[in-house]
């Protein structure tokens, strides 16, 4: 009897605890939303009757070329995603289904990148791109990340789980290497592609330090760098405008997540990332 009574109370406490944590987690964002949608005077005063306004967003939008930054970011992320898909698919297929001398050693060398990310090698990569005369281009931001060990690793794992009979059937039909890849492996690895794509997009959309270093002009800056340049003026920070700009630059990803929450989580599960 005691046990039966104990459980519900414990459960309720847990629910309350989880909710408190959730509230705590949302608090910063809620505060930012409050500040962005109300005039500057209400930034630090909570008056429920305060008037809503879009003026902060307008001011932020006009203060910096955010449209251009948005275009740059979309171009960057699209470029990275496309190139990564192609390159990692080819490499993963080679590692998964082809045998050649030195394969496992080479795979280990590739995996080294999981620990030694391009971000850490700022100084050298910067120099390389300068020598290639590619500095301050969107391609320059993307290049260090196009060969993605994580992508190769994930796709190889997925390809390994695809049943050999399917591959054999395609071979019997006379499909060449690339045709087998395209017809059999790629379609079956769709969940992995989605999961990897989501991770990659959110990572590169939000990437800051490397783009900060490698870009100088408005035509190449992504949103994150644009926001930083915008927000660190020596003038007094106008919190309403800064939070408005911050929300604006985060909005695309946020909205995408809100709309596709379930798919996000499900694709992670189906891809068997664990």
């Amino acid at each position: 009897m005691m046990v039966a009574l104990y459980r519900p109370i414990g459960r309720n406490l847990e629910t309350v605890g989880a909710w408190l944590l959730g509230l705590l987690w949302m608090l910063p964002l809620l505060y930012a939303v409050w500040t962005a949608f109300h005039p500057a005077i209400y930034a630090t005063h909570f008056d429920p009757a305060a008037p809503l306004t879009f003026a902060n967003f307008k001011a932020a939008w006009q203060a910096a070329p955010f449209t251009r930054y948005l275009i740059n970011t979309v171009m960057l992320v699209t470029l990275i995603l496309t190139a990564q898909f192609v390159l990692c698919t080819l490499a993963a297929f080679a590692f998964a289904r082809l045998t050649f001398p030195g394969r496992d050693l080479l795979f280990a060398v590739v995996l080294l990148q999981l620990m030694v990310m391009p971000d850490v090698l700022l100084v050298e990569n910067y120099r390389t791109l300068v020598q290639l005369h590619l500095a301050d281009t969107i391609l320059a931001i993307a290049l260090p990340y196009l060969g993605s060990a994580f992508g190769i690793f994930l796709l190889r794992q997925t390809f390994l789980t695809i049943p050999q009979p399917l591959d054999d059937a395609a071979r019997l039909e006379g499909c060449g290497l690339l045709a087998r890849l395209w017809r059999v492996y790629v379609p079956l690895a769709k969940p992995t592609y989605i999961a990897y794509g989501l991770v990659s997009v959110s990572y590169h959309w939000n990437n800051f330090l490397w783009p900060l270093i490698i870009t100088n002009s408005v035509t190449t800056r992504p949103l994150t760098v644009g926001l930083a340049v915008f927000a660190t003026t020596d003038q007094g920070i106008d919190w309403s405008i800064v939070t408005a700009a911050t929300l604006m630059t985060s909005a695309p990803l946020l909205i995408a997540f809100l709309l596709f929450q379930r798919q996000f989580v499900q694709s992670f599960m189906r891809a068997g990332i664990r």
Partner: protein, 430 residues
């Protein structure tokens, strides 16, 4: 009688002239500049560049690159990458380090005729202080400022002080700030008396003013020696620390520059030491009567100049260098300098600008705009040495350690001197 041949020749020349001119002129220049103060500076700069293009046909693309340190990093990165700007507005105090990077071209080398030399002489001498080395001129003033106090007149009246008389000595300043500090019933401060910036990039400016107020120069003109360890410098640091430690008129620890102006406008502090370039921003946003006053001094007022000069880079072609110089001369014309000053609050860079009618009228209507320049005679240059950023960092680290209570002023300054000496050692030989 006009010969046909000469007519042909003349017409040919006239037709060819534009092409020849175009071949000799430059199509487009890029120029990096920082925004360090409030106001729609980007729009103003865009307008200037458009006007310049209409007058001269040279397109100048202004690239806003962040604050002073970001602009410096960006400009250097771009120049090293070969895609750099032809000229940029950078901290006047960076001259020695920029020279070390071997990227500057002096104005003398670009070419200064008699007119040009007169133009150089037309600037306020205090603003040219950071521009000379090896007998040549390396930069020209553009957005210059001095450090001044902004103070809340309503707060002054509230505590029974005369809002029109601002203290001019350290002792008076400390007492005033003490009086202005307001506490609630539980002892929590609701309004600070004074706030000064101690964060990286600004601590050395605040400190430069304080040192000058103790009548001590912080560096030599060649930028190879610093004088942090002098008794007067230690005096200045002690005074800064005493404002929090003894007088409790400013918060313990470090106050950040970006926070000063919002705090002042919020009523969180009654006095801030800030740049004159923030004047327009404060004027637009203040919800209370405010005043502008020169800095105080140990015995008499002294202050420090700051702000940005225009530098010209080696990687530009001769035609581009000429065009950049032309832009610099165009933008510093009295009328335009006056315009820039009125719209931002920076001090117009030449006395001639203050003789223009527009600025005269403006100053009559808004006397606060004139305060900063009256202190130019007692202003010293900003800390400027080789490896400038590195020396700024060691000085700032030690100032912060002192303000946070982990080092007494004497030791903080001794450590700063030691570190700086080590950094500057390779440069002392030259």
């Amino acid at each position: 009688m006009i010969h046909r041949r000469s007519l042909l020749a003349v017409s040919a020349a006239m037709l060819a002239a534009p092409a020849i001119l175009r071949a000799q002129t430059v199509e487009k220049l890029t120029f990096y500049y920082p925004i360090a103060v409030g106001g729609p500076l980007q729009a103003i700069m865009d307008d200037y560049c458009k006007a310049f293009q209409q007058e001269t046909g040279i397109a100048v693309e202004p690239v806003y690159a962040g604050d002073y340190s970001q602009t410096l990093i960006k400009a250097l990165a771009a120049i090293r990458a070969g895609t750099g700007p032809q000229f940029a507005v950078l901290l006047a105090a960076e001259m020695h380090s920029l020279q070390d990077q071997d990227i500057l071209v002096s104005l003398d080398e670009i070419g200064l005729d008699a007119d040009g030399k007169k133009w150089l002489g037309s600037f306020y001498p205090a603003f040219m202080a950071n521009s000379h080395a090896d007998g040549k001129t390396w930069s020209v003033p553009f957005q210059r400022s001095t450090a001044i106090f902004y103070y809340n007149k309503a707060a002054f009246q509230e505590v029974g002080l005369d809002a029109e008389k601002f203290p001019t000595t350290w002792a008076a300043l400390a007492t005033t700030a003490e009086k202005l500090t307001k506490r609630d019933a539980s002892g929590r401060v609701t309004r600070w008396g004074i706030k000064m910036a101690g964060d990286l990039g600004n601590a050395q400016w605040t400190f430069g003013a304080l040192a000058n107020q103790a009548e001590q120069k912080l560096m030599n003109e060649a930028g190879t020696e610093v004088y942090f360890n002098q008794p007067k410098t230690i005096d200045a640091m002690s005074f800064w620390q005493s404002l929090s430690a003894e007088h409790h008129a400013t918060p313990d620890g470090v106050s950040n520059w970006p926070q000063l102006s919002p705090d002042f406008l919020e009523g969180n502090t009654a006095i801030i030491q800030h740049t004159t370039g923030n004047l327009t921003n404060v004027r637009d946003k203040a919800q209370f009567p405010f005043g502008v006053a020169g800095l105080a001094g140990k015995n008499s007022p002294h202050t420090v100049v700051g702000g940005g000069n225009m530098y010209f880079f080696k990687n530009a072609s001769p035609a581009e260098r000429q065009a950049s110089l032309r832009f610099a001369r165009w933008v510093s014309q009295p009328e335009r300098a006056a315009d820039w000053s009125m719209r931002t609050g920076y001090i117009a860079t030449s006395p001639a600008a203050y003789e223009t009618q527009t600025l005269k009228d403006f100053v009559t209507k808004f006397p606060a705009a004139n305060v900063a320049r009256t202190f130019l005679p007692v202003a010293t240059g900003e800390l400027s040495v080789h490896e400038n950023q590195r020396v700024y960092k060691v000085l700032t680290d030690n100032i912060q350690a002192c303000l946070n209570g982990s080092k007494p002023p004497a030791r903080a300054m001794a450590d700063a001197q030691g570190d700086a000496d080590r950094i500057l050692k390779p440069y002392k030989r030259t």
